[in-house]
Symmetry: C2
Subunit: 111 residues, 2 copies
DNA sequence: GCATTATTATACTAATAAGTTAATTAAACA
DNA sequence: TGTTTAATTAACTTATTAGTATAATAATGC
């Protein structure tokens, strides 16, 4: 899988609020599928599918524990995304500086 | 539009390599639709649609200039995503520390 | 006014996504 | 062994996505 494919999968997986909510739950620690499904107004197979999508994107891993499948957050794809956003930081900071200068100017000139 | 919807739109828009490539082009400065389409092996209407998706997600804005529609990168949604990833930074740093400690341990004990 | 250039709209196809219900697998437990 | 609990698979529906070709709009420049 190319880097682009990995980003495709990660961005696409994160483009659903239920899946982001599942990751937020997993930030508190590992959990079973049933536990993860509990807060949602959705059938279990639907949640199961969301979990598969997250796993396919490498955002979670799974471990069998008796009759449970414990899900665990994996951060690598999130780090990839964070690093992708960094390429744009200089742009937004430059624009913020511009806005900042403009605001300072306005204050100085009492406009 | 709720914050969740904004993130949905942004993540979803970024889940296509052509759209990320368009943003990369726009990081160099504004550009017309034709200029943006040039590097792609794709029809113009297809690129036009990708641009609409980016605009809908707030990732670009447009300005009419004669017969051209100049596209401009907008960083707000990228900042939102960067900020979303930050919630998980403590987790990946903690794990890195663990790995780090483990490696140091191995070295110390010559295992 | 008319041809050219830039862009979008329309109409269509094929693939994928998100959800459902019902059936199945697999381990635990009594 | 039979039942319960956990989770997935299968089959299906509906909606959306990504692309195409072709037609339409809109401004420019001769």
């Amino acid at each position: 899988m190319t880097k682009d494919d990995q980003l495709d999968a990660a961005f696409s997986a994160l483009a659903h609020p239920a899946r982001r909510a599942i990751l937020a739950q997993l930030a508190q620690g590992t959990a079973s599928v049933n536990a993860l499904a509990e807060p949602f107004d959705m059938t279990l197979p639907a949640v199961s599918k969301h979990i598969r999508v997250l796993e396919h994107a490498g955002l979670i891993s799974r471990e069998k524990d008796a009759q449970f499948r414990l899900c665990k957050l994996e951060t690598a794809p999130i780090q990839e995304i964070a690093s992708w956003t960094e390429r744009y930081r200089s742009i937004w900071e430059a624009r913020f500086d511009t806005l900042d200068t403009l605001l300072a100017d306005m204050k100085e000139n009492d406009t």
